[in-house]
Symmetry: D2
Amino acid sequence: MRFERDKTLHFQHCDPAGIIFYPQYFVLFHELMEEWFTAALNTPYGEYIRVQRLGVPAVKIEAEFLTQAFLGDTLRLGLICERLGTSSLTLAVDVHGGDACRARGKITVVQMSLESRRAVAFDSALRVRMERFLHAPI
Amino acid sequence: MRFERDKTLHFQHCDPAGIIFYPQYFVLFHELMEEWFTAALNTPYGEYIRVQRLGVPAVKIEAEFLTQAFLGDTLRLGLICERLGTSSLTLAVDVHGGDACRARGKITVVQMSLESRRAVAFDSALRVRMERFLHAPI
Amino acid sequence: MRFERDKTLHFQHCDPAGIIFYPQYFVLFHELMEEWFTAALNTPYGEYIRVQRLGVPAVKIEAEFLTQAFLGDTLRLGLICERLGTSSLTLAVDVHGGDACRARGKITVVQMSLESRRAVAFDSALRVRMERFLHAPI
Amino acid sequence: MRFERDKTLHFQHCDPAGIIFYPQYFVLFHELMEEWFTAALNTPYGEYIRVQRLGVPAVKIEAEFLTQAFLGDTLRLGLICERLGTSSLTLAVDVHGGDACRARGKITVVQMSLESRRAVAFDSALRVRMERFLHAPI
């Protein structure tokens, strides 16, 4: 399975060159991950942070920005899981606009307790839901 | 008439106190204005900036933040026109979450040519569409 | 007394019109307030939030943006206290670039416990230091 | 040679988990690159964009976030050139706080005309200045 959302590039995303300022791609990727937690993993992201006191800080990022995206463009962002560890997760995201792939990236996050600041294993219910998004699980 | 959109508070909007960082309210207000241009004024905001080479920088702002809004909250943002001048426009915006008004503000913008950097009168077609959102037009 | 810092407009502050995106002015005002706490009030802002578990969310804002400021401009931001209440504080800030005043604003904040989410009176030592920045104290 | 700047983590950089929100690392990396252009390459970044109408959008990013950095932390950011092509440049950046390396990354940018939207070779004077920051030039 694949999780998708359309997002429009707003003024705040764009730079004096008139195109998306690349750190804003990571803001959009994070927004997509939050929506995935809320809509697809049965784990509303606000409660996850504020009530469960868990978080998923990034530890590793790779991204390529292939063709420029402009103010007002509507982009389709997609997400799959590439690797699911005990407390870590690698997400692969891509961004399409028109027929072109504009950007793609891989983000590895680790589930952390916001209290102890230590890694915490994903519980089994959450893991089962994440596994549905594993690409080509073997 | 009134223009409304629902927006969810994401991680990027919130601060170490767990609530919306107030400059992000203005980012959301701007997003709402862009969507109003695109969806209600028949003026896609990306083209307005990039093709028409016009813009609407803010010259004056007032806002009150009444009750806190938290990560994951879905807020309803509304916009009306309070005053429409030759090249200036005052928008009144409010933000509701649950039953409470969380924030409200007034933003005065001036239409500017991005080439000459001077104020430019709204053309009559755009003005007619804006007038429909004038609150209590007399 | 007046607290001042010079700040250069970076890419992240500027929009497709090539000028500062106005919500970024509020980010700069907040940065100035943090530096004022740390450098002038003997209250390192990071400890204030993280150890003392206090915060100063804004409840009211007014600002005027008078002349445009561009990418690469170095601006001088200044801050004074306009009113000091039991738990509230109104700051007046201004922004100069070259000989011109580019922007000015007033921001009212309330000291809040991040635990109880309630207003908390400024302690007397902090108040004494803030008073030195009161404009025309009577 | 190596280009360094100290930067303090402000409220706008930090998230509800109290640590830097990782897209903000890329904002800081970009700020560092702008300062490098202005202070070390004799190419004030504002003029580079606004007058020369050139830009350096990122095409590829890799980063690792090794240990958490908190609100109020002062971090030392360093930059060297890892590879210098005709119109492309790979920068290696690292972030130290206390004795620990908090983050490191590699960013490949391409010099682009903001008018034609095409890659443009670095001129020889700029290239000579960039070469001084090439790590272990052979």
